[in-house]
């Protein structure tokens, strides 16, 4: 009985929170992946976000074994750095860390929801339902970190990513190097990011 009362109290308390909840969604363009690249000192960090349709060809929550296999295979492929980016040998870059996951952004949002309304089951269910909705647009997310012997030699970065995933059409890249910040659109045909053009 007591817990019941608490639940009602929580529900009432949670109501204004729900009303104030901000609703927004990032834009999501099929075929277009985004990449950020930073060079500072010897450190090179690359982050790649790609809609699921580019990688596995679908964006619904995987239910069949075939779909799950496809996702597992894609994640494995993205873990192998050589499948995604090829760095100039002269730069002597050594991979130090790599992380690949599916739907990273939505997971973060989920955590936030949890913080907002603790010990309240209803709200949690809601958040889950919301998550399921947004999961219709799944995104693959990969980060790669390198230590480079000669970062000045990082002039061109090849993107075998396009060969690996035939559905990927374009990467919108933003990069920051000693020459400053800039952006580039990379398509299948070039499949290469040219740095240090400033």
């Amino acid at each position: 009985m007591k817990t019941y009362g608490l639940a009602i109290l929580a529900a009432v308390a949670a109501a204004p929170v729900m009303a104030q909840e901000t609703r927004e969604m990032d834009s999501h363009v099929h075929g277009v992946s985004t990449m950020t690249l930073v060079v500072e000192g010897d450190r090179l960090e690359i982050e790649l976000t790609s809609p699921g349709v580019n990688i596995v060809g679908f964006e619904y929550a995987a239910s069949s074994d075939a779909d799950k296999d496809a996702i597992a295979q894609a994640l494995r492929a993205m873990l192998v750095t050589e499948n995604i980016v090829s760095l100039p040998d002269a730069a002597q870059c050594r991979l130090t860390d790599v992380a690949v996951n599916l739907n990273a952004d939505d997971d973060e949002h989920h955590d936030d929801h949890g913080d907002d309304a603790h010990n309240h089951d209803d709200d949690h269910d809601n958040a889950d339902a919301e998550n399921a909705d947004s999961a219709e647009h799944t995104e693959f997310h990969a980060t790669y970190g390198f230590d480079c012997g000669d970062p000045a030699a990082l002039t061109r970065i090849g993107l075998p990513f396009f060969d690996q995933f035939p559905n990927a059409q374009e990467i919108e890249a933003q990069f920051v190097t000693d020459a400053g910040a800039s952006a580039a659109e990379i398509d299948r045909d070039t499949a290469e990011l040219v740095l240090n053009d400033a």
């Binding site: 930073v38 960090e45 952006a183």
Partner: protein
């Protein structure tokens, strides 16, 4: 031999040849000028801000944010609340943050409220800092530091009073609270030259008696205002420097996903790149049009040579009789054309530099674009070379005709 003949022949027809050369000169000057303005404008924009990692403003377009915050072009869609500003400033990744508040003006110049830190962190042209040429920085609430163009245009010296107008192009002045010119910034070639800089608190102070955009009629004495809490409620934008470059994108994402207020953080270089993508279409069109003008001038030259053929038939025939081979006739005409193109190109280059010298200060004052006067580059040499080759190709048509005619005519010219 042919060269001397060709130049003599051109001299003999100085008027028509002169007009043709002038047409080529104008077109080449235009073509090179468009390129100069294009690269000059790009360099000018790119040089305006450096050392700033992120610009934060209300959520709109990244290009728009860059334009209003740095270039004072256009206006903000929304302001950023002071709470959000402080939230961002408290992020561990933030090395420094400088708020900017726009919206008031002095004559034709924008007034910008900021903190003294602006002078420490704002950098232009690859890391140069602002240099206060005369006077000092923002020490007092009613101190104003003005850009070089403001001082030059309005004839201000350190110590002069300044009345700030409410809004842009408005007739209501903040007469009750005059500012004093505390310092004049050395010429930078950036929009800072055309800006009156005051403190953020001063922007609040002059609006103390204003509510909902109108003057309430009351006039709070200055010494009362000095005692008031002048913490702003909102700012227009903020410039941010991060501790480490590796954190730029993380901080950008945090700001863009900031739940309490829709904010936008952009990397200045990336926003500029986006701007060039938009402007690039117009640029290509401009270059295309000016290239067509060059083509038109060359076709004009071809028409001129064609029409001269008839009057020169007897001349050609005499040359043939003197022992000139038909190939010589052809060579003569092509050489004439190339000479005209070379002269036209050279004259065009001179025209370009003269107009650069004349127009540079005016373009700087009117548009804030500083066109550097640099010696001709390899690219210009290429353009001149291509124009000469094109002239040779174009003149082949009348030359071949002359070649044929001179074969057929012999001495018997039937005119």
């Amino acid at each position: 031999m042919i060269l001397r003949l060709a130049s003599q022949s051109l001299m003999a027809r100085a008027l028509t040849v002169g007009m043709t050369i002038l047409a080529i000169a104008l077109s080449v000057g235009l073509f090179l000028g468009v390129e100069k303005v294009r690269t000059g404008a790009r360099a000018s924009f790119a040089d305006t801000i450096s050392g700033t990692d992120l610009i934060v403003g209300a959520r709109s377009g990244s290009v728009q944010l860059l334009l209003y915050s740095v270039f004072r072009i256009g206006n903000a869609t929304n302001n950023v609340t002071w709470e959000s500003y402080q939230d961002i400033a408290a992020r561990p990744q933030v090395d420094w943050i400088v708020p900017i508040s726009l919206g008031d003006s002095h004559r034709q110049f924008r007034v910008m409220g900021t903190t003294p830190a602006f002078f420490d962190h704002y950098q232009y042209r690859g890391g140069r800092s602002l240099d206060i040429a005369e006077g000092h920085g923002l020490d007092d609430l009613y101190d104003a530091v003005i850009g070089a163009d403001v001082a030059a245009t309005l004839g201000y010296a350190v110590g002069d009073p300044i009345i700030v107008s409410h809004g842009l192009a408005s007739f209501t002045d903040h007469t009750d609270q005059p500012f004093r010119v505390a310092g004049i910034i050395a010429k930078t070639g950036t929009p800072v030259d055309r800006t009156v800089i005051v403190t953020l608190q001063a922007i609040e102070a002059i609006h103390v008696d204003w509510q909902n955009g109108g003057n309430t009629g009351r006039s709070t004495p200055v010494d009362v205002i000095r005692q008031m809490d002048l913490t702003p409620t909102a700012i227009t934008a903020a410039l941010v420097g991060v501790e480490s470059r590796l954190q730029i994108f993380g901080l950008q994402r945090w700001i863009n996903e900031y739940p309490e207020e829709p904010l936008l953080a952009v990397l200045p270089g990336v926003a500029l790149q986006e701007l060039w993508q938009i402007v690039g279409i117009a640029e290509t069109a401009l270059i295309g049009v000016s290239a067509l003008v060059v083509v038109t001038a060359l076709i004009g030259m071809m028409a001129m040579i064609f029409s001269s053929l008839n009057e020169r038939r007897r001349e050609m025939a005499i040359w043939r009789a003197m022992g000139a081979r038909p190939a010589t006739i052809l060579g003569l005409l092509v050489t004439e054309a190339v000479l005209m193109a070379a002269l036209g190109g050279a004259l065009g280059l001179i025209l370009l530099y003269v107009s650069l010298f004349v127009g540079q200060p005016w373009i700087d004052a009117a548009f804030g674009i500083w066109l550097p006067i640099a010696p001709p580059t390899l690219r210009e040499a290429w353009v001149l070379g291509i124009v000469m080759v094109a002239a040779a190709v174009v003149s082949l048509f009348p030359a071949i005709r002359a070649y044929r005619l001179s074969l057929a005519d012999g001495m018997m010219v039937r005119i």
